[in-house]
Every structure is written in C-alpha cells, then in structure tokens.
C-alpha cells in the first residue's frame, strides 16, 4: 500500500471529486475537515487544485499560417469550391439564402466568411484593369454607405424588438449580433489595410448585408 493511514488513503482517492464538486455536501464537509487536520492530504489537495486551476488558464497556441491554405487546397481538390475566390462566398451565401435561416446559422456562415477574409483574400487580388478596378471600388463604396444607413436605421428598432422577445431567443440574437459585429470589424480592418482591393470590399459588403438581414429578422420576429 501507500503507507498512509486508512482514512488518508480514502481521502486522497476522493480529492479530485471534492475539487470538482462531485461529492455530496455531507461527504465534502467530512473531507474538508480531514484536510484541515492532515497536512499530507491538504498538500495533495492544494497541488491538484493548482494543477486544475492552471490548466483552465492555459493559452491557446496560434495555429501555423499554412493551415488555411491547406484547407483551401483540400476544398478545391475535393471539388467543394472552385479555384476562384468569390465562388466560395457565392456558394456559402446564395442570394436570399440567409433570410430564411435561423440567426445562429447566419453567425456560423460568417465564421467561415472570416476565415476567407483573414487568410485567403490577402493574396487573391484579381488582376483587373485599373479603370474596371476603380469603377468597382466606387460602386462598392456606394453600396457600403447604403448598408451603413440601413443598419443605423434598423438599430434602434431591432434593439427595442429584442426586449420584447423571450430571453432565450433574445440571447441567441444578441450573441449572433455580437459575432457579426466582430466579423464586420475584421472585414473593415481588412478593407482599411487593402483599400484598393475590390474583393476585400465585396466581402465587407456581404458582412454588412448579413448584419442588415439579421437585424431585419429580429424586427420581424414573433414575440412568442
């Protein structure tokens, strides 16, 4: 055996359960009482507690830069996307598609969307002639301004509507609005860093469009 008194042996077997709150209250009190009196067991308890607490705070390591290019390559190889950058989004966001979706799903689609923004778009600039490029940019900027106005107009109404919805539904909408704001900001940053890249602006437009659609969905939701 371990050379410990029988009571310590039993306590040390149950330290993890005690740490995780899995013991009934009476049992936990009994264990804690023993820990107060037994230095050996309390040392084990404190060590395992430190390990558990430190594990919960470990940082998530950054994935290698090659991860997304490999994902894209596989998607292309498997015929899931064509090797033309906007097509991924055309497939993910067909016209009128998102309006019929549940709000959380829209958030999910935007997650994929940002993967594209952050990792593929940078290198995917199309070789448009300068005149075409500036015409596209102008159109995109007009559309951006249009969406910004629409979003501003919908903001107050959708916030008011959220207050009348069930807490669960309101929470889902709120979470997804937050997700969209995050992705929208990513797209805005990308557009700021690549002001001359029409593709980046197109993705930004899609982000605006999805946010406006979600807000419209909130406004049209039943309060039941």
């Amino acid at each position: 055996m371990n050379g410990l008194p029988a009571n310590c042996t039993e306590v040390q077997r149950r330290i993890s359960e005690c740490l995780d709150g899995g013991e009934p209250p009476d049992e936990e009190r009994r264990l804690k009482k023993h820990l107060d009196e037994c230095w050996e067991c309390s040392r084990v308890y404190e060590d395992l507690k430190s390990i558990k607490e430190t594990a919960a705070e470990l940082d998530a390591p950054e994935p290698p830069d090659t991860l997304w290019s490999s994902v894209r390559l596989q998607l292309v190889q498997q015929g899931l996307v064509r090797d033309r950058k906007p097509t991924l989004w055309e497939r993910v966001f067909p016209r009128g598609f998102a309006s019929s979706l549940k709000p959380a799903f829209v958030g999910a689609i935007l997650a994929l969307f940002v993967i594209g923004i952050a990792y593929y778009v940078r290198d995917s600039r199309k070789d448009l002639p300068p005149s075409t490029e500036s015409a596209v940019l102008l159109e995109v900027q007009r559309a951006e301004s249009h969406y910004q106005k629409a979003i501003n107009a919908l903001d107050a109404v959708s916030q008011k509507r959220l207050q009348s919805l069930s807490p669960e539904l309101a929470q889902i909408f709120t979470d997804n609005l937050a997700t969209m704001d995050y992705y929208l900001k990513e797209c805005q940053d990308a557009a700021r860093k690549n002001p001359d890249n029409p593709l980046v602006h197109q993705y930004l437009l899609v982000a605006y469009e999805k946010k406006a659609e979600l807000m419209q969905t909130i406004v049209n939701s039943d309060s039941q």
């Binding site: 077997r13 390990i51 490999s70």
Partner: protein
Amino acid sequence: MHKRRVYSLCLRMVSNVGEAEDLAQEVFMQLFRKLSTFRGESAFSTWLHRLAVNVVLMHLRKKGLNEISLDEDFDDDTQDLPRKEYGAVDLNLSGAVDRAALEKAIRELPKGYRTIFVLHDVEGYEHNEIAALIGCSIGNSKSQLHKARLKLRDSLQGRRAKAEKKTS
C-alpha cells in the same frame, strides 16, 4: 478565435504539431461539409468545438487510444494515490504551477489520461459529457482524471526536484 481554439484542442490532445495541423484541417473540412446540419440550437462555437472533439477522438481511436485502458477498474490501489517518498524534499506545488511546465507535463501524459484531462480541466467538459464522447462510464472518467492529475503532480515535482538539484 475559432481556429485557435480548434487547433489548440487538437494539439493538446495529440501532442504533435504535424498531427494537430492535419486534424485542425479535417475539422474545418468537416465544418464545411456539415454546416448545413447546424440547427442553431446551440452556440456555433459549442457546435464547432464538439465537432473538433469528435474528429480528434476518432483519430485517437484509429491510432489506439486505449494504450491505457479506459475500462480499467478501481482495483489498483496505488495508481490513484499520490506517491510518497519518505525523506524527500518538500516540493509542494501550491500556487506555483508553471504554465510551460504544465504544458510539457500534459504532453508527456499517456494518451488515455491526457484525453480526459484535456477535455475536463482544459476544455471544461463535464464527466457525463466525456463519458458520452469517449464511451466509458462516468466513474471511469473521474478515476482517469484523478490519476492524470496525480501523474502531472509527480511529473511537476520531478521537474522541480531536478531544477533544484541543478541550482544547488
């Protein structure tokens, strides 16, 4: 945000950078294929995380996760108790677990222990969820977690003892 969490889960569970990258790729490929099955009933991050756990567990099963059997019972008296070395230096870890040392110690855990420790203590899954994911009993999950923590404690104490020997 999502990519980092998925990659970190893969890396911690397999302890190999190349394998972790392959698994993270597989997760995002499956995400692409299965996105239409997401019903919006849970948060997207929860759904994606569960998908990632399933991909990694499938991979570990193929490789033979049960190097330490998840079905072992509680009969082994010594494994779920701390080792006691009389006359050893007091190496209480309390309040001073170094993150890098813990990361290294986790990497060195046997696969079965590592899986349960990472899922419970790092990723925050409950025992009933782990039992369902892995296909073991809740009691087994608890027992494996306790043994994993004790192994980590031993490992961290061993490192500290080595470091103290070097400095003295």
